[in-house]
Symmetry: C2
């Protein structure tokens, strides 16, 4: 597959080319590293903001209002929503997305859901790559929305410069927030649906808990919002922007170097794992695979057989792309 | 490292050897595939039951009561608790575990927490391996407890023959259950804290939702429990056992073969990814790594350089264990 024409259209600001490249990333096309190499030099300009929290916290509505706020200021916005979708829940998640469709005809907004269905991991990498694409395309802000709690979702939040954790008064006590690992990743806490009982109490509890932590460069604010009534959105964005400034000031060359090094390792690990995956159905491995299926050899012995055979491994990891770039 | 003496002690039913082997799995020792190859023939006897649900559903107390119920019946129980632990939440999670410590002196119970901290993924595999160890050690039942919602946690539940999803009336409406992907993985729903308002309503809603699904071999029951008062535990275990029987009856050779094949692929992918990871700090890759850190080459170009060099890849994937078995 020749991706050059697609990359040319992408560079020419063709939204359909952007959509197509995201699909290639999502489907883990073997072309992904070559695509990313081309667009990488144009990345690093967007402000990447993560929005996470438990199901039902009103994240989608909040994202919708943040988009409207940013559009009013003339900024281009990309959104990646990580959907824990499934054959049964697809409809429900879609319901949320529909609310965002008011931005559908706006050329300054690009919204894409990434499904988590049937993945062997690698979701954090795919999300990072979609963020790179939205960034390189020229979006000023990229919002990444996940349903928090899971480890994968927490990992994804590390991609963001600023992470907002959205809670609602009904979310239970703050001990649960700590158990879900949300306290460490939050740069800004949002208590949404703040007109409901318990909003003030949750805010106070969070503030007490935040004060128990070691002193840091950034004091995590706890904001009250009512996304459905468009209340608190402006202050939310102001604090996100302030955190971005503080973060950039605190982030030295060493940290940037470490992030690049970690991204390199991530790409290598995932790419090799994907090549292994694709090779499992290849003729070389069929006889061994059949013996594993039949129970004639256990999976660990079979894995050690492959790992001990350097020549076989080299064939498995070789570039299997039909065309080349 | 010679793991033979450790495996001998494990075979001799030494609990400290079991604990040490679990630590090797958790720390991703290069010895893991060789260890698992040895113990694999003794696996497949335990009933593996997953317990998941949102934070605050009372899972730990429920697990505690299920252990007591099984011990009263003379069955040996292993427990793996997947902790989304963190420097700040460690204490809170520990609080839960303390309740399980009444079983601490019972030789028929082995409880271990697996931390999710700082992982590149591979948690599902590590959990599977700990389950294999607990199974091969001679536990009749292995309980796997996770804080549900995240994709990784849902993946972990696939290891179980039977998955129980624990909710509480406060958990919010059933739409949230669907959004979190819990509906598809539940073989048994548990509405815990059933003395609270809304328990019956949640049960009814779940039952309606379950009826909307395509007909299946197993009708997912929705049970009411009060774990703190030890209510409903016996019926819960009865239904888990019934599901186990139904599942074994429905599970043909083909499915078993597919599971073995998938486990093989998982081991290969993860093991190769880990070898890549370890090799990033090796002399071969230091100059390229330094250029990535310095920003002289972007991570994708550097990854493609490595992937295009078969000889370098072979060295990276070679067996780096100091001793060998």
């Amino acid at each position: 597959m020749d991706v050059k024409p697609l990359l040319d259209r992408f560079a020419g600001h063709d939204r359909r080319a952007l959509a197509r490249l995201i699909t290639l990333v999502e489907s883990r096309s073997p072309e992904v590293p070559a695509i990313m190499r081309e667009i990488y030099p144009r990345t690093g300009r967007a402000t990447v903001v993560g929005i996470t929290g438990p199901p039902g916290a009103g994240k989608s509505t909040l994202v919708d209002r943040v988009i409207a706020h940013l559009r009013a200021a003339g900024r281009k916005v990309g959104v990646v929503a990580i959907d824990p979708s499934s054959p049964f829940s697809g409809g429900a998640v879609l319901g949320d997305r529909v609310r965002m469709q008011q931005h559908f005809l706006d050329e300054g907004v690009f919204i894409r859901s990434l499904s988590t269905r049937g993945r062997h991991g690698g979701l954090a990498r795919a999300t990072r790559e979609v963020v790179h694409l939205l960034d390189a395309f020229g979006h000023d802000v990229v919002l990444v929305e996940t349903v928090g709690v899971g480890q994968t979702e927490l990992d994804i939040m590390k991609l963001a410069q600023t992470t907002c954790v959205v809670l609602v008064p009904e979310a239970g006590d703050t001990i649960q927030v700590m158990k879900a690992g949300l306290l460490e990743i939050a740069n800004v806490f949002v208590v949404n649906k703040a007109d409901r009982d318990g909003a003030r109490r949750l805010k106070n509890e969070l503030e007490v808990m935040l004060q128990l932590r070691p002193a840091a460069d950034w004091n995590v604010p706890v904001l009250l919002t009512e996304a459905t009534a468009d209340k608190g959105i402006e202050e939310l964005w102001t604090r996100i922007a302030e955190h971005g400034v503080a973060r950039r000031a605190a982030r030295g060359d060493e940290e940037q170097g470490r992030e690049r090094f970690e991204e390199w390792g991530e790409i290598l690990r995932d790419e090799v794992a994907e090549r292994i995956d694709r090779s499992l159905a290849q003729p070389d491995l069929l006889p061994l695979g059949e013996r594993v299926r039949a129970g004639a050899v256990d999976p660990y012995t079979a894995a050690l057989d492959v790992l001990g055979d350097a020549e076989l491994l080299a064939r498995m990891l070789g570039d299997r792309r039909a065309g080349g770039r």
